[in-house]
């Protein structure tokens, strides 16, 4: 019954979630009209294996299916098909056992009671997590300590900052002393300082021996925080590896971003740029062409780019040389930027 350490923290196979879009009115049902609702695959066949003790990230743009996946792991959503085992427990067969061992932070600060103090919030949830009464006090203090809120424990949550509320939501997820913590966009809406702080807390979870599965659409976050990253788009995993290995899949040492002022549609200049680098992406905003190019050496490519622009009758307005990021990996896989 009990999960052995050899079992992965999460093992999902062939996971699919289909939602229906649009609605079918009572009248349409009554008259037996055909069902015109669109069936939409929010998650479209995901296989996922998260090992014990790692920080695993799901990176993807808006609507990729990250939240839907997390909710299926957390028993809030029933998958259309596929199997999930969390800490060796079948989620569909024994949802209550999964809930007792899983720390989940899905909707963050909104899901707290703002009219109660942090401690009162946690007392309530500790009872719901079936924490034995004699351990409750210590468990709450531990959770508050690990998110650095112990000194504000008796303040009303409505007087907290967004970052503090987010940390309190994380503290709540720690109440069952979970071996696995899942976090849906833990740093969304936080200022850089608060986000850095929360990431530090997440690293501490790993050093306490817990497994962390998180979603994000910040590529820096995935890069800095995660041991392994799955890039997810349109409900499918398009790449899965360590951040370093993912970045090495791009056959380029450097990434050059250009802004080119031009009069025509830019086809000529793009063609010429393509001779000395891989144009990963180009986008036109009235009169300016933004280009992302992958190249072996910026030192060689940048002068070539100026020549290419001049001979096509265009002018380069801005040049930026940046290291390869997971964003570039995403672009090279999907042809789109993460955030658009």
């Amino acid at each position: 019954m009990t999960a052995t350490a050899a079992e992965p923290a999460v093992d999902a196979r062939g996971l699919v979630k289909v939602f229906e879009r649009g609605r079918r009115t009572f009248w349409q049902r009554l008259r037996g009209e055909p069902d015109r609702r669109e069936r939409f695959h929010a998650v479209d066949g995901i296989d996922l294996r998260v090992e014990r003790g790692e920080i695993f990230g799901l990176l993807g743009p808006n609507g990729a299916g990250k939240t839907t996946t997390m909710k299926m792991l957390a028993t809030l959503l029933i998958p259309t098909s596929g199997t999930i085992s969390v800490l060796g427990i079948d989620v569909l067969a024994r949802p209550r056992d999964v809930r007792a061992r899983l720390g989940a932070m899905l909707s963050g600060e909104r899901s707290l009671y703002w009219k109660l103090t942090a401690r009162e919030n946690l007392e309530y949830f500790a009872a719901l997590y079936h924490v034995p009464p004699r351990q409750t006090r210590a468990r709450i203090d531990d959770a508050l300590t690990s998110v650095k809120l112990l000194d504000r424990a008796d303040d009303y949550v409505e007087r907290y900052s967004t970052g503090m509320r987010q940390r309190l939501a994380l503290a709540r997820a720690l109440l069952p002393d979970p071996p696995l913590v899942i976090l849906d966009e833990p740093t969304v809406g936080l200022d850089p300082q608060a986000a850095r702080d929360l990431r530090a807390r997440v690293r501490e979870l790993r050093s306490q021996g817990r497994t962390v599965l998180l979603t994000t659409h910040y590529m820096e976050e995935a890069d800095q925080l995660c041991d392994r990253v799955a890039i997810i788009d349109h409900g499918r995993i398009v790449a899965l590896d360590t951040p370093g290995a993912l970045k090495r899949t791009i056959r380029a040492e450097e990434v050059v971003r250009l802004e080119i002022g031009l009069a025509d549609d830019g086809a000529a200049v793009l063609e010429r740029l393509g001779r000395s680098a891989t144009v990963a992406r180009s986008e036109r905003h009235n009169g300016t062409l933004a280009v992302t190019a992958h190249c072996a050496s910026a030192r060689d490519f940048v002068p070539a780019a100026f020549d290419a622009a001049r001979s096509a009758g265009a002018t380069i307005q801005h040049v930026e040389v940046v290291p390869v990021t997971l964003e570039d990996v995403f672009i090279s896989l999907t042809g789109r930027a993460l955030r658009e």
């Binding site: 939602f19 229906e20 839907t68 909710k71 957390a74 028993t75 809030l76 959503l77 029933i78 209550r96 056992d97 809930r99 007792a100 899983l102 989940a104 899905l106 909707s107 909104r110 899901s111 707290l112 009671y113 009219k115 109660l116 009162e120 007392e123 309530y124 949830f125 500790a126 009872a127 719901l128 997590y129 079936h130 034995p132 009464p133 709540r172």
Partner: protein
Amino acid sequence: MSLLAADARAFVAAARKELRMWRRYPLFILGLLFWPIVLPATWVLMGQAYSGGGDARALAAFAERAGTTEFAGFVFVGYAMYMWLSNLLWGPGTALRQEQIRGSLEAVFLTPTSRLVALFAPPISHLPFSLLNFVTMGLTLWLVFGIVLPLGPVLEAMVVIAIGIPSMYAIGSLFAASVLRFGETGPIVQLVRGTFVLACGITFPLVMLPGWAQAGAALLPPTYIVADIRTVLFRGVGLGGIAIDLVLLLAFAGLITLLAVWVFRILETSARRRGTLGSY
């Protein structure tokens, strides 16, 4: 610790959380003291005016239909029922709905506690307020209208209330469960509450209703509670005389509870399929 004991503790914690939230709205207590006095008092004054200031023949006519000449007491008992019902229809449904909108319902559903805790705990937390209502009304009857309720019948009335509690809270839970699906509480509450006011004889004796409406009223637990409280308080009938009603009330409580659990189960599974647990 067994699962049941753990769920029981969760239940207590949930009711306690509700009460702690009320604590943040101290003015709400003022309303709790104000309405139970003002509303029934206006009806009593109206009754006094219509009866020519307590004319003997008018009182006899009332007694013929209501079984007592204590019309102030009659109205107050009716209103106590009304306030109790209103609290139960508004409170738990609204509480559950707010949790759903805010997203805390999802957080509750992430825990291993039985879902029934979320369903049944909010109504129970309203118990102290209902008791406060009853006490205020009793005091008003005494201080304003000079009606002193004798201790024996008051204790008997409390037994009736205690036996009525499960069925009343089952109604509150059933209502809360359906709110999860239909969202908007306002219009449904008005409709249900209006029906109860009319059918359960809040300000008038039931015999004033047409026959079919009386038959309908016989299916609503508050009808029995309000009638039985009046019977023990004002007609000198003991609990033995209303035993059948009390058994019926317990049966109602069981039935409505099962219905509430069933509705809630169906709605929860459907929400887990359609992903609407945290939406509105």
